[in-house]
Structures are given as structure tokens and as C-alpha cells.
Point group: C2
Chain length 242, copies 2
């Protein structure tokens, strides 16, 4: 991987033996992490590289060997599974500071793609595993990160199994509001199709739900691009998300 970059992917820096995650929160434009607590991991010294992936390019594929773990620098990443006929389920969106691609087994369980032009830091997984075998604190950090992912997946099962389309979109907006609202505006990096594949809906249904919320006065669209959303009434939005 460090020797030959795939199309749409460009290596930026590659330093050995540098602490990977130091000053993550000092990264310009990043906000406090809600997933992926780092803890002791930030002290583990590991091989580090920084890559840039163009919009739409694959970072790793499902069932590929999981040799690295990743952290979003600037940009956004989606992870998904595909059925043989092309139906897609997005498992999570990863924003600035989030860790993704952390596996316990040998291979990735999702495909990861850059939603927009994205910089990614990556570290050799084997070096981390080696540390975890002897350092219980590092192992507990890995456990905490995995538990965060599990909690998210469990909540998402309830959404996918039992919520209506309006409830799903409301839940999505609340989740994104927590993670990327700045100056009252939520700038969504992902398309309606991505949102639909995250929520188990079609893009038309997502669009209709957003229009409906707009008509109810709960949210507004901002000028130029439809991907900028203003939440006008968080209280009434919360009522829709059972």
C-alpha cells in the first residue's frame, strides 16, 4: 500500500515511529469526537502515513486483509456492505477525527469510500496488536472503541427494523446535528442516496421526508446548496424520533 497508491489516492506523508494520533483535536476544523475514544492509544508509537483520497474512491474493500486502521483527518468516509444484486447498506458515516477500519479478525467487514476529498491517517495494525497483547490499557481502549461501534450498530438495528421513514430521517438529522453542526448550519457531505442507503430507504423517500420537515417549519435549507440544513426546532424534531 505504501509502495503503490491506487487511483484517486495520493500519499502525503509517511513517518515511521511517530505517534499517530497526537493533537487530533487541535486539527483545524475538527470538533470534539463522539466516537472513537483514543485514550492510551495516543501514546502507542506506530508507523504512520497520511493519504488523500479523492471523492468517491475506495479506501479499502470488504473482505480485504485488514492491515491498517484509519482515522479521518479532513473530509468524510462511508462504510457499507453490498448484496450480490447491488443493494447497499451503509453502516456508518465517519467524520473528522473518527477511527474506522478497526477489525479484530483478519479482514474488513465493510467497504470504505471517501464521500468527499478526504485525508486519512493510517497505522499498521500489527504493531498495534503487538502492543495490545501486553498492555491491558491499550487493549481496553480498543475495547472501548469497539463498544462504541457496537452501541451505534444496536441503535441502528432498532431504526432499520422498526422506525418509519420520517422517524429515520429525524434520527439521522439529530445524529448529524450532534456531529457536524457549526454556526447553526449542518453541512452534509453525503448525497440523498447515501442517506437513503444508511437509513434503509430510497433517495426519493428521504427527499420527501426532508421536504415534509421543511413544510412543518422544523428545518430550513440554506441558499446555494441543498446540502446545507438549518435546524429551526430541535424540540419538535426530537419528538419525531421515538
Amino acid at each position: 500500500m505504501a509502495t503503490k497508491a491506487p487511483p484517486g489516492c495520493e500519499q502525503i506523508v509517511s513517518n515511521r515511529e511517530r505517534s499517530m494520533f497526537v493533537n487530533v483535536n487541535a486539527h483545524p476544523g475538527s470538533r470534539p469526537r463522539t466516537l472513537g475514544q483514543l485514550g492510551e492509544l495516543s501514546r502507542a508509537r506506530v508507523i504512520l502515513s497520511e493519504f488523500k483520497y479523492n471523492k468517491g474512491t475506495e479506501i479499502f474493500g470488504e473482505a480485504e486483509p485488514a492491515d491498517y486502521i484509519y482515522q479521518v483527518g479532513d473530509g468524510a468516509v462511508r462504510t457499507h456492505k453490498l448484496l450480490s444484486d447491488g443493494r447497499r447498506q451503509i453502516g456508518a458515516f465517519h467524520l473528522a477525527g473518527d477511527i474506522f477500519g478497526l477489525e479484530n479478525g483478519l479482514t474488513h467487514r465493510f467497504t470504505a469510500e471517501a464521500i468527499v476529498d478526504t485525508t486519512v491517517r493510517l497505522m499498521k495494525r500489527c504493531s498495534l496488536e503487538h502492543v495490545a497483547e501486553t498492555d491491558a490499557m491499550v487493549a481496553l481502549d480498543l475495547l472501548n472503541m469497539t463498544t462504541s461501534n457496537l452501541r451505534h450498530a444496536e441503535d441502528h438495528m432498532l431504526l432499520l427494523g422498526r422506525k418509519t421513514s420520517l422517524e429515520r430521517v429525524a434520527a439521522f438529522l439529530r445524529e448529524m446535528d450532534l456531529r457536524l453542526t457549526a454556526a447553526g448550519v449542518m453541512a452534509l457531505p453525503m448525497s440523498r442516496r447515501d442517506i437513503a442507503d444508511y437509513l434503509g430507504l430510497t433517495l426519493e423517500t428521504v427527499s420527501r421526508a426532508l421536504s415534509h420537515l421543511h413544510g412543518m417549519g422544523i428545518l430550513g435549507f440554506l441558499g446555494q446548496t441543498q446540502r446545507q440544513i438549518v435546524l429551526l426546532d430541535r424540540g419538535r424534531l426530537a419528538e419525531l424520533d421515538l
Copy 2:
């Protein structure tokens, strides 16, 4: 909990400082575990109790303090979340030997109930946590168990978000076939409603899908009870589960 048993729950044994999980697989009627690898945990000496829960009774509730972790002895357990209006999503079924109720945070994220009369072994969580803080091997075992749960939840998200009713039921049958088929017969402990709430469907739709598979010659029902199922053609069942 050890001082006052709730209705439908009866304490059987309570031994301090005994290894909790020794000889799990020697338990009569239990088969090899597919979830919940124990590894080093089986060496951790902890407080142990064994309880019996009657069919339908609650073992712990969502958002209750998670003071114990549990292992199914004989019987079966379902874990679920509820929406305020009663819609239910079952996250997992736990069969003989399975660990459940393992949390990293302070509280349970699901409600757990006995599907049939069930014996459960439980251990104080704090004693386990204490060990994990210093023993990296124990911490890695916890990580492995959590990762198993995560993998299951991730696969289930794809099912709930994107699969048809027939595909969901086929996937369910294959999962149960792996876990509890004995002598060619799958004796399901759970009702059609439980299956429906696991698969994000209604009980009628589950029943129709099973009838359809029966009509296709892929499965047969066995005499006395409709909960005993014979898989006649695993190959064609697999083709339905994309």
C-alpha cells in the same frame, strides 16, 4: 439481586470464588459455542451464581445498572429494545453457552428475557473489570466477545435495511440451523412473534414465508409442534439468502 429474587426467578446455587465457566461445553445438551469465546476468561476466578428464570420473565431491563454478565446454561434468552409505543426490535437470541449482558458502560443497552424456562450463570462484573485492567489477555477476550457481537449486529443491519421478507426468514433459518440443529431437526424455542421482531417483520409475514418455503420443498414441519423444523434442502435455502 442475590438477596431478593424477582418473580419468576429462583436462585439455584451461589458459590464465591469459583471459576465461572469451567466445563461449559461438558454441560449436558449444550453444543459448541459459535459466539462468546471465553479463552482466558475461564481462568478468572469470580463470584458465581446460578439462577433459573421462568418462561417469559425479565432477566434485566434496558438502562438498568449492568452489575453482572450472564451465560445461558439450559434454555434460551432474547434481548430487545422497545420504542415508546411498543414496537420491539430483538437484537439477538442467546442459546446454551452464549454470553449476554456484557456491557462496557454502566447500564444495559437491551432488555433480556427468558424465552423458555432457562438457567443462567452470572458473575459480578466489577470483579471481571478489575482483572481486565491488569491482564491484557482477559481484556483481549472481552474485546473478542464484543467484536463477535459487533459482527452479528453489522450483518443484521444489512438484513434489516435491505433484504426482502423471504431473504430475512431464509437467513434466520440458516443462522438457527448452525446453532441448534440436532439429529436433523431444528427445535425453535421462540415464537413467530419473536422471529418477526428479530427480522423487522410481522408474525403473519414470517408465517407466510415459512409456508412458502414449505411449499417449495425446502423445509418440513415435524409432527407434534410447528416449532420443529426439518431443513430438506440447505442448498436452495442458501440461494435465497443473498
